[in-house]
Symmetry: C2
Subunit: 161 residues, 2 copies
């Protein structure tokens, strides 16, 4: 067994691996989101699609799939259901009839905003459990690290494509 130095309060073994912590926290956050989304008739994938269309309206399904990190075949059923419920518009591009123009309907916009607002309320309640002095920096760190490209975290080029 490696010798532990009791005088060293910063010993590395005092915290779990970062991935272990993000896995546990992510599982809890997803478990908290799913019932809220279900109340709005949304699956996680459906919600992700609505968010992606809001931020960057896209002109092909393949581009949407890549933007949200999904396979292009994976989202077809999701788009079918969102369209059936009138939350998105999916029309052929007159300029290139192979492509489908994807956009949020007003109803889709409302559902998205309503679901996100409910999720935010839960998140604020969770963040309130952190000491005041840690809250802002925790969020800043999470925002910064989660925005890094995968290669920046792995340190190895070409692992993602």
């Amino acid at each position: 067994m490696p010798s532990l130095d009791p005088t060293n309060g910063q010993h590395e073994r005092t915290r779990p691996d970062l991935a272990a912590m993000t896995t546990a926290l992510n599982r809890s956050l997803v478990a908290a989101e799913l019932p809220v989304l279900a109340e709005h008739g949304l699956t996680m994938w459906g919600y992700v699609v609505l968010l992606a269309l809001d931020e960057h309206p896209l002109r092909t399904q393949a581009a949407l799939a890549e933007a949200i990190g999904a396979d292009k075949t994976r989202i077809i059923g999701v788009l079918d259901e969102l369209q059936d419920r009138g939350l998105i518009d999916r029309q052929r591009d007159p300029a290139d009839r192979r492509a489908r123009l994807l956009s949020l309907t007003p109803a889709g916009h409302d559902v998205r905003d309503s679901a996100q607002a409910a999720i935010r309320r839960g998140e604020e309640r969770l963040l309130a459990r952190l000491p005041e002095r840690d809250r802002e920096s925790f969020l800043a760190g999470l925002i910064a690290l989660s925005a890094l490209p995968v290669e920046d975290v792995t340190g190895r080029p070409g692992d993602s494509p």
Copy 2:
């Protein structure tokens, strides 16, 4: 579209959902860990088992499975391989020959420590990208929130069993 107030720097819509961020960060962290573990001949599950045996040596496989959030049938192959490589001991309990006593071998301890040390080096390199003033609070927040039981995050009792 909801009106954005440009004078309000704290507007809620300026950050992604917490779950979206933890999903992205977790994916990157796992992608960073896997090649390091592979260099030590470990899978993610194998590594998780070695860590669990280190923290709480357990006397039944079912208890181990529950401790790491896995199905009891899920870890059998993992234990088989770790045992074949001499990283764990798995002996029948003389007091109850149905149960298997699980413990780390010295070799298992070495592999675990070596893999974890390599992972820590990568993590420190990542954390160094955060501004000095955010680093400690980010870690403190992550440690605190990831340690919460799922029900504390969901706010709903009985979602986990």
